[in-house]
């Protein structure tokens, strides 16, 4: 597989009145062409911010991409001109957002909102763009698409709106689709429809997908590889089986333990992670998870563990004690 996106040491901060928020703290990884990568973590772990940083959509001020490289299709997106990045956005690199109601412009027809992208990136005229928009909407499963181009977002249900968002994201045949919690705002049965849709389209169109979510179950379902993020760091990375079955980071272990399992005896107590997520404003040196970690040792307080390969080259973890954990857990 060819490498499509390579991120090196990405760091994003927000300069707020209360202090500097260390949102993303040196993230490096790559995505191959046609791959589905899951990015999982709780709120404030930097998963969305890092995706927006890739697109250069961080509101500045207060946000600032401090350093790093984002190589996409032979270009470093962080150094190209504003004009160049606009050509990439919505074209080869598209994004679908969490809340389909607020992410669509309420004062514009959905037809226009998709046509707009097509005329911009593919240079189509209105007629061609409308025809393609109808095809796209049909493809994402909107019944009677032709007659719905003139409708406004509020005339669609939540699930249908997310389909419209997906059609918009796919409009210019992106090589990479970043889906930022695309199913979080939806009901369970609708969520299943959307997951199924994106999986099907990914297989058909062969694009790569970065699937950002807090739902470990969704990741296990859709992704081939996973990044687990905590406090702006990737703490564990590997194939879904590596991360879910040979878990090496105490945070991932805790996260999985927090979830009740359909295959477990429901009587057992959940092994919740104690404490609160860290305050990113005064993020202290050392492992960010140390305060909540049951495996913590002296070293964790002072040195930030690097992301290192474990038993397998492709399964990496940022923990000083992963080997002991492996022996204990495995």
């Amino acid at each position: 597989m060819n490498e499509l996106l390579r991120i090196k040491d990405l760091q994003t901060r927000f300069y707020t009145r209360d202090g500097v928020v260390h949102a993303v703290n040196g993230v490096s990884y790559s995505i191959d062409e046609g791959e589905i990568l899951g990015v999982v973590g709780e709120s404030g772990c930097g998963k969305s911010v890092h995706a927006l940083s890739i697109m250069r959509l961080i509101p500045d001020p207060p946000g600032k991409i401090e350093r790093g490289e984002v190589w996409f299709d032979g270009q470093d997106l962080l150094t190209v001109s504003d004009e160049e990045i606009r050509k990439v956005r919505g074209g080869r690199l598209a994004m679908v957002f969490q809340d389909p109601m607020s992410s669509l412009n309420p004062a514009m027809t959905i037809g226009f909102q998709i046509v707009e992208a097509l005329t911009l990136h593919l240079g189509m005229n209105n007629k061609q763009a409308e025809a393609r928009t109808t095809d796209l909407l049909t493809m994402v499963g909107i019944p009677d698409a032709k007659n719905r181009l003139e409708d406004y977002p509020h005339q669609f249900s939540g699930g249908m709106r997310q389909r419209v968002m997906i059609a918009m994201g796919l409009s210019c045949d992106p090589k990479l689709l970043i889906a930022d919690e695309p199913t979080t705002a939806l009901d369970v049965t609708i969520q299943a429809q959307i997951v199924d849709l994106i999986k099907r389209l990914q297989a058909e169109l062969g694009m790569a997908v970065m699937w950002i979510t807090h739902d470990l179950g969704v990741v296990a379902d859709v992704a081939e590889r996973v990044n687990v993020m905590y406090a702006g760091y990737i703490v564990e990375r590997g194939t879904v089986r590596d991360v879910f079955k040979r878990t090496r980071h105490p945070y991932t272990i805790g996260l999985l333990g927090s979830l009740p399992r359909l295959d477990e005896d429901p009587g057992t107590e959940l092994s919740a992670i104690p404490g609160l997520p860290p305050d990113l404003i005064d993020l202290r040196p050392g492992c960010p998870f140390a305060v909540r970690c049951t495996y913590v040792v002296e070293q964790c307080w002072n040195e930030t563990p690097p992301l290192e390969p474990t038993e397998s080259e492709r399964h990496t973890v940022a923990c000083w004690r992963w080997e002991e954990i492996a022996q204990g857990v495995a």
Binding site: S102, N105, A107, M108, L120
Partner: protein, 333 residues
Amino acid sequence: MTQYLLKRLILVIPVVLGVTFFAYSMVLLTGDPASALAGVHATPEMRAALREKLGLDDPLPVQYGRFLVRIAQGDLGTSIISRIPVAIELRLFFPATIELALAAMTIAIVVGVPLGVIAAYKHNSFADLGTTFGSLVGVSMPIFWLALMLLWIFGLKLGWFPIGGRIDRSVDLQTITNLYIVDSILTLNFPALLSSLHHLVLPAVALATIPTAFIARITRSAMLDVLGENYVRTARAKGLEEKSVVSRHALKNAMLPVITVIGLQIGLLMTGAILTETIFAWPGMGRWIVNAIVARNFPVVQTGVMVFALIYVFVNLAVDVSYGWFNPRIRYN
């Protein structure tokens, strides 16, 4: 849409009735209209006769009903001072005020909206702070003082603009609508157009100050809200240029609160017109009413109060209806 319009019209009816009722009963509250009409030298018998003739001894609802019938027939009474039918005076003064108000509103929108957009876009910049502070100064200014200062500086010291009236006495203008700008264009009277525009500048600028400031403030805060919305991020993620993001995606959504304020500004504009017209000797409704109030010229006061209130009511109706264009949700519900 038609149904929505109809609904809104029905809602206006009680307000219109209330307004006319207030205008009518107000006169009774301020004292005996018969004595005012009859003059100071009238005997008690003359006043009593007049009261009976005017039907002032009937119960209030009956009087009000008669009043409504009368204005429905276009009879607004006769001015006590000039003895001219109020309807005729109204046709003379009303267009002057409309001309002034429209000019002021145009200035306010043309200046205020872009200022607010720029301030919001360059949030926390010097331009933003300047607009915020400047617009606060604008709304804090006593309009009669501002008018006097403009008159003093641009009328007297610099001599750029005339200090009163609507048109030079030396210019002939055949009036059709009594809107001088419209009339001079209709009659292709270029000198009259120039002269009336020249006279309009200072009063219009004075009158526009407060609405401009208000509109700039509201536009700024509405734009700030909208620029933080997710669909603006979507527009950027689509690769649109900033220009289209702001002008196409953000502005249309931000206009909703702005047009509400424009509607509400009409009330303030009318308040301003009362004061501005007094200072610039503008022969409009404001001056007409103030003079009438001081002189207790009730038929004129009644008419003026009603006209001002009805303008407000119907402008706000128009604003409500125009929501449909900006907000498709309303159009379809």
